[in-house]
Symmetry: C2
Subunit: 559 residues, 2 copies
């Protein structure tokens, strides 16, 4: 098991030793500015108790069932202690962190099982089916949309979390053939390390990369930060195996087929509601030899969007591009401001640029390419820069690119730092056609601000564009708002839900999908029928009835 939970922060993001630690003066400046903009004094929201002290509902798994689970998966595979149950009770969405922090988990899986083989998974599903239990597949547990919530149907008597992280074997790596097969519980760093030993990469780097698993990426239709270059997870999966209550769904290892509908695509995005993904064969690329990431400043988000579109449509060949809007750009600048530092050349440059048309609304653009040939990478980056300049961009050189690469998995730590100080951070993401992007940006941002005002008395809203395509891009919104007081799980979760509802309504109304890469889970479920249509939902339910007729698999998510 490569993910060691004892090294991780149980109530927040990632590793315990990687929490954000601003120097006091910098923190004070930042908090003062946030309080001013949120229009309220900030009150701390500390973690209330230790992991072991959490009060969980009593387990409904009795000794008979416990014995059967042990028989199916091995004695050491079945856990019922508070820490393990709490770890598997939530994902890493804002309401999850709030409930952990406040020590108020109203639900937890009744048992957590770590099967070590495909056969053990199948045996576990049989036991669960016979014993009327729900099974919640659980990989890295980084879902931010309630994808691992321990729900069950009314007639079911218990919830079993099926932790996949013991299924982490490297099955086969065929570098010449561009293929690699892994068990699905392997996490990002272990997968990339195994490939790196062969000079290969999958090139899939979602923000959760360090803690999420291959199976989770497939189940949620994940997309990585370099998806412009490598594609999203659906472009990388060649074949897979999924254990369902009715048997194993497996697809053929061929690069492409016209043999009817592609069944990989029914598994991609199935969110554990059809079965447990246990193995996948991926198309892998040669590891890049060189990379070049850079920054550019646009006078406005609109100009940056036009440049990004042009870069994608003219086939410049970037691996990553990412455009922060005015608000996100300013927050980024605010964050790096450090009174202890006498002289900051970046700050000087930005204030010089302010007088030259790069003031209010200026938008920071990051772009990068990587590959086998340094000259090629240089050509692509140079071409992007020329396109950017034509759209009014001011080239900022490599320093913002270096900063992005260093920090690209670190942003979620800031959320915990802010939560400690009573500021909630939630994110909302969607994808839109190019022709809708600007209006969607404006209307969803307005909805974020209105929701923040209404449900929290004030908020800071911002967005960036990432993951772009010939025909559109992902917009990723962030909202900061003060937690409702006095602090109680019910109150702050209701506050979150009210905001979530208003914002998702606005996203759907603007023509966006309920999710570009987070998934549906519990949180986006009520908007799904509008997106898929009635017959579309019937199709998904038909797939569910075929593979999981008694509804064992991850109830209450997706469908």
């Amino acid at each position: 098991m490569s993910l060691r939970r004892e090294e991780l922060c149980w109530y927040g993001w990632g590793r315990r030793d990687e929490a954000v630690a601003f120097p006091p003066e910098r923190a004070e400046l930042l908090l003062g500015e946030l309080a001013r903009r949120l229009g309220t004094a900030l009150e701390p929201a500390p973690v209330r108790c230790a992991l072991e002290e959490l009060k969980l509902p009593a387990s409904r798994v009795d000794d008979t069932l416990l014995d059967r689970l042990r028989e199916a998966c091995g004695r050491e595979a079945v856990h019922q202690d508070v820490a393990t149950r709490a770890w598997h009770a939530v994902g890493r969405g804002l309401p999850d962190l709030l409930r952990l922090r406040l020590g108020e988990l109203e639900r937890a899986p009744d048992a957590v099982v770590f099967p070590g083989s495909e056969q053990a998974v199948a045996a576990l599903l049989r036991v669960a089916d016979e014993a009327d239990c729900a099974v919640v597949p659980f990989g890295g547990g980084t879902s931010v949309i309630g994808g691992v919530e321990p729900l069950h149907a009314e007639r079911q008597r218990a919830v079993i979390a099926l932790d996949t992280t013991r299924l982490d074997a490297v099955v086969k790596i065929d570098g010449e053939g561009g293929l690699a097969t892994f068990q699905a519980g392997i996490d990002g760093p272990a997968l990339e390390a195994a490939l790196a030993a062969h000079g290969l990469t999958l090139g899939h780097f979602p923000q959760s990369f360090e803690y999420s698993t291959l199976g989770g990426w497939i189940a949620t239709r994940s997309s990585g930060q370099q998806s412009n270059g490598y594609g999203s997870i659906e472009d990388l999966v060649v074949a897979l195996r999924m254990v369902t209550p009715k048997g194993v769904v497996r697809t053929l290892e061929v690069p492409r087929a016209a043999s009817g509908p592609d069944l990989n695509e029914l598994v991609l995005g199935s969110e554990g509601s059809l079965g447990v993904i246990v193995e996948a064969t991926l198309r892998v690329s040669r590891a890049p030899v060189c990379s070049d990431d850079r920054g550019m400043l646009f006078p406005s988000f609109r100009q940056g969007v036009a440049a990004a579109r042009e870069m994608v449509q003219s086939g410049v060949g970037l691996g990553m591009l990412r455009l922060a809007d005015g608000a996100e750009t300013e927050l980024g600048l605010m964050q790096r401001r450090d009174p202890a530092r006498g002289f900051d050349p970046a700050e000087l440059l930005f204030s010089w640029l302010e007088g030259r048309g790069y003031g209010q609304g200026r938008s920071l653009f990051l772009y990068g390419a990587e590959g086998e040939h340094a000259r090629d990478v240089k050509t692509r980056v140079g071409r992007a820069r020329r396109v950017g300049r034509r759209h009014g961009g001011f080239a900022l050189g490599r320093s913002p690119g270096r900063h992005w690469r260093r920090e690209r998995f670190a942003t979620p730590y800031l959320r915990d730092w802010l939560l400690d100080r009573g500021v909630a951070v939630d994110t909302f993401e969607s994808a839109f056609s190019w022709s809708r992007i600007e209006e969607a940006h404006a209307t969803v941002l307005a909805a974020l601000e209105a929701a923040g005002r209404e449900h929290a008395g004030g908020a800071i809203a911002m967005a960036h564009l990432s993951h772009s395509y010939l025909d559109g891009a992902c917009l990723y919104f962030t909202l900061l708002y003060p937690l409702a007081r006095p602090l109680a799980s019910e109150r702050v979760v209701s506050q979150w839900r009210a905001i979530k509802r208003d914002v998702t309504d606005a996203i759907v109304k603007a023509g966006g999908t309920v999710s570009h890469h987070h998934g549906v889970g519990v949180d986006h479920r009520e908007w799904l029928p509008e997106e898929k249509g009635a017959l579309g939902m019937d199709l998904l339910r038909a797939a569910k009835s075929t593979l999981d007729p008694s509804g064992v698999m991850n109830p209450g998510k997706l469908l």
Copy 2:
């Protein structure tokens, strides 16, 4: 209706005025060589009668039903004449051409309806459902796997061909947004012409491009000759509308989503068995400004495969690459041999190369790139050439590339010319992982030769590689064999079927898919359960039961 059937050849491929017309001396030389290699004298297999003289089974659509069809779709939309029924009785596979040529069509649709709107399609499906009729969606009718065969279930009383070619509107073109929406009955040239007026291209050029429709491409999971650059049809579809007996399935116009399984992918490859695709929104590219297509000769197929793989995996950026094996290369040379031509520099070059390691087994490789920047295209082609040379390739310059671009839609005409002379031509295609390609090439080729010997007394077998991916490629096999005598539909179709069975068995045994881009239809149906697995088939049947519970849609295909 942009496809004018009166200009087309009813018993063969394409336009009447584009048939192959070799000068007599060249024809004699080619036929002599073929007869020698097939080990038999060639006897002609002429077309037996005129289109109007074809004997078709009497139509089972009575006047009451006829009235209802007219009511649903308009009086002028319903046809029952021999010519129209015969046109819609078959596709363009070898058994189709044999039955047409011999004037022995044992089946034909009982009526052909040309609905002019989505509403008319829906009304037609309602009438068919109520009247217990099967409906066979029919676009260009170029299926080579029995995809438009007018079959019906036992309890059904008639078959209605639903011709989509009146649904050929350009709905919307948004060049800046990289999106274009068409009705699905539009054919390739009309679609590309509409895009070209905006400086755009879809970049989807299957060999049937001139005669096939957008709906057909989607229904069969088509792949074009430049799929290396633009992707296959599944990469190009953003959203679509499909009319089913239970209503309309429609997907959202967003560039990408993580909102559960992608339902476009259930429609892609559905082969008319779930419903009628009536509209699709596509991501389109800027039309290339320049292109460069070239040839290279490898000493062996093995070396060519290694070069092709290297080009794809090192990200050279070709739009097209295509490698003929030794047999296909020699047949190509044989075809161009012209006794009337005193001096052929290409022939001289090839015989010079023979003494320099490019003899027996030499393999012709075609490769090309296109784009917005001439320098970029040049760089990509140059890089490919360097990779090729490292693998023993001899650069042949632009002339083979020009020939490919000129002739790329013309190969099927040769099939009719050969059929006229009693030589059957069939093609078989699959896709394999790189690690299986060479063995698959050898074993399937051996199976082709054995099947030709056993069922036809002799054969010429060859193959080429095309449509390549990081993890594998398509192998496309061609078999020439003498038709069984005396000529009778039953005999030559049985002969074809026996060969098809042996070859498909070999393809599946070698680890290939039943089809890379032709589809399943009737012809590959019996091998599908092995590819999809029992649960996979259950999933497809569940989709069918959901959308078409009474089995109106294209019975006997795919499922």
